[in-house]
Symmetry: C2
Subunit: 243 residues, 2 copies
Amino acid sequence: MKIDPTSSKDLSAQIASAIRDAIVSGAMPVDERLPSEAELADQFEVSRSTVREALKRLAAQSLIRTQRGATGGAFVNRLRYADAYSQQITTSTLLLSMNAVSFETACEARYALERACAPLSATRRTPDHLATMRAEIHRQGQPGLTDEAFCASDVAFHRALVDGAGNPVLSYQLAGAVEAMQPLMNMITFTARSRERIITLHGGIADAIEAQDGGAADAALVELAEYTVALAQSVFEARAAQR
Amino acid sequence: MKIDPTSSKDLSAQIASAIRDAIVSGAMPVDERLPSEAELADQFEVSRSTVREALKRLAAQSLIRTQRGATGGAFVNRLRYADAYSQQITTSTLLLSMNAVSFETACEARYALERACAPLSATRRTPDHLATMRAEIHRQGQPGLTDEAFCASDVAFHRALVDGAGNPVLSYQLAGAVEAMQPLMNMITFTARSRERIITLHGGIADAIEAQDGGAADAALVELAEYTVALAQSVFEARAAQR
DNA sequence: CAATTTTCATTTGTCAGACAATTAAAAGTC
DNA sequence: GACTTTTAATTGTCTGACAAATGAAAATTG
């Protein structure tokens, strides 16, 4: 293997790209062991430090895992849903916070995606999913709950709704959208009355899902979406008037 | 700053986590310069190599960028949609290929998400989006097109449909689902007749979007989804029978 | 012989120091 | 003032070393 030394990119970035391509293309199957750092250094004609920096880049993307010891080394990692989730959430959160995405835009995306899950969830939800949804609704009604805790419970409720669809790919895609909304939701101070309204709407969604009525679930989600946007608007307006 | 030396994780991973948390929490705003590698090494009481490995991890996630020279250093990077797209596509592609996600599951997720975009796209699509969709439909009808080129055009068509919704968050979320499907779609050999059918269905979608008829677009997408699943099933069955 | 312990080789993790490459600011020159 | 040269700061790369982990082989012991 060789690397272009005249490229503008770092050597470690080039090496990481080369190995990444090999993994993504399927040339290196899961659990295959990469050559040792010393061997890679020889092959690419760079120092071991440079190889290590490249490997750390790949490790950050969960593409490889490393193990010390005699039979250790770097191995192609099976990307698990949990790893993919957390990466997606980090990326989505930053994307929203760094690009001044409006509450409306984020909210629209979130509810559009959730509505895509609702009919599937109505058909396939297990008793477990229903129990989680009911439990979160109950928690949301507890007095003395902080806004942050209320929002966290809200996220948990919606995750259960999404997971109910029984499609891991959907769950993975939605995780980012739902979780990344939390910081934006945390900006809203919930009055007792708005909480009550949201809890009622959540109850309606849970009822529809329990009754396996996809249409009703969709309608309830639309109602919740509209209420959320209206609530946010009033909160932001009140805040602007205060100044 | 201090780091737990008894932790099971690598020092570089711990340092990367600490800095990542600072960035994600918003404690370090975009374009803020991190301390130099030497200063970080002092603060965390580790060597410069270890700091560098931590920084490479963050660079791999596009959280920072580095610049050489007197006023250089590592800066908090504004995560752009393009960076987020490509990361999402890499992750989604690996997730599908490494976890033996069935064609049905991936297809269901993709079309469920696209259906979420369709009504928005019908309302907001620009002439540009329509032109792209028409151009890709035309390309798909060209004789002598390889299966790969046909699939690539298919992806481009669906991206235009999604982008038509005018919601960058949706586009970002959908990019992974749509693009990651391509390797799976490439497994299907398209006959002239199946291509013709798909092109007809694409035309129907484009017509509905042009007419700003969300309901018709949704119906056309459902039809396309069903046809795609049926086509895949027949292809896989034929392949199984061949053995 | 079987079970256990010890030794050993391999590999990653960390460190220290050096030099090259790059870059912008500072100093010098006309 | 405009231009050139110098300088200092910073990242990129290399070298060599040692520590820590770990499984396999060898030695030991009953």
